[in-house]
């Protein structure tokens, strides 16, 4: 028991890094999701194709491979990211691709009658998107975003493999210096990750319950 209590404060600096990576990559993923999601439903086929290639590229390969590519292979082109930035970029682009599917699905889920009513009121394409479609689609997206944020938190642990001293990396260091701590370290790691995930889990469940409010029925 003592070991467990000893470990906790030593993990905390790592937890701070993990939360930082989580927040930064979530912000990037959010932006990317909207840009790519709107691109997927663009009226220009070239935009649809480019965004589709991006999404398929990132969903078709592994997050860890993408992270390694950005950290180890990109320097070949003269672009050298810090481990933190490489992690944020890889996580943001990867989960942004998944989240863009949520955005696209939600936009398509808004019944066509809403589009027709906005055309009948002579709104421009952008007004229709901004005033009518997106506000409704946003509510449909929220549960999906909630679930992806949990996936994103889990994904942050991979940055330990490119030597960023996040929660997982801290745990490995402690375990390496004191092998008798092996069991307590990994148990505590799982517990701390779960504690960070807890608000996200509760949020996701809540969003799922509220999802259907204020959206037109087909």
């Amino acid at each position: 028991m003592e070991a467990y209590i000893n470990i906790l404060p030593r993990l905390l600096p790592g937890a701070v890094i993990t939360v930082q990576v989580l927040l930064a990559s979530a912000a990037l993923a959010f932006v990317v999701a909207f840009v790519a999601g709107l691109g997927r439903v663009s009226k220009y086929s070239i935009v649809r194709k480019i965004t589709a290639v991006y999404v398929e590229l990132f969903r078709g390969t592994s997050l860890l491979v993408q992270l390694f590519w950005i950290y180890f292979a990109l320097p070949a082109f003269g672009i050298q990211f810090s481990p933190f930035l490489a992690g944020v970029v890889a996580l943001g682009l990867n989960y942004g691709a998944y989240a863009s599917e949520v955005v696209r699905g939600a936009i398509l889920a808004v019944p066509s009658g809403q589009t027709e009513a906005s055309i009948a009121l002579n709104m421009s394409n952008w007004q229709r998107m901004r005033l009518i479609i997106l506000p409704q689609a946003f509510r449909i997206m929220l549960p999906g975003f909630g679930n992806i944020s949990i996936e994103l938190l889990k994904g942050t642990s991979l940055v330990s493999l490119i030597t960023l001293t996040d929660l997982t990396y801290k745990g490995l260091i402690i375990q390496n210096t004191n092998l008798s701590y092996t069991m307590p370290v990994f148990v505590m790691l799982l517990v701390v990750y779960f504690i960070i995930a807890l608000p996200l889990i509760i949020l996701a469940k809540k969003l799922e319950k509220n999802a259907s409010r204020g959206v037109a029925k087909a």
Partner: protein, 223 residues
Amino acid sequence: MTWNWEFAFEIFPEIASAIWLVIGITIGAYIVSLVLGLVLTFARRSSFKPLAYLTYGFIEFVRSTPPLVQLFFVYFALPAIGISLNKYAAGILTLGIHYSTYLSEVYRSGIDSVPKGQWEAARAMNFSKIQTWFRVILPQAIPPVIPMIGNYLLVLFKETPLLMAIGVGEFLQEAQLIGASNFRYLEPITIVGLLFLLLSYPSAVLINKLEQRSKLGFGTRKN
């Protein structure tokens, strides 16, 4: 430093040779997750409440903590309580258990979509519990979710690079070793990415087709 074709061709067979290992791990983990997922589904619906709650807690905990840390736990920590696994077994088990929690959700959604009247009809015809499950409910619950179940084969395939963290020589580990000894990472890691695209994209298309077919076949079922 730019792309070197000669180097790429030289190392490609070395990296690609891991394909059987990767496929083996994927299929092994898939079988674990399919079976354990079903067990979790039943346990969660158990009328013995402590078991149901415990299962629910287990699913939530496993689903929201990183598989990488779970892998370390299984491979490094479990030996402390006398459970020693080699790295392959540890990898298969960890991925299998992690994704069994996702599959149990898929099974659950399939079961929930079976109309209530089917349960009532089964009761009216005096089927036993086991008969009800295996003759009435599951045959209706599973087919509509087959594409989702199939999709997890792809998800697992893409998770295999994780196992490099405990030294399993899958694609990425091979590429990493080559990269480190040649001080060239661009080609090996790009090749890994291409391998994943090459193998997963056709499967994704296939699963998509399966999905459309199952929609046709089962679309009107609920009425």
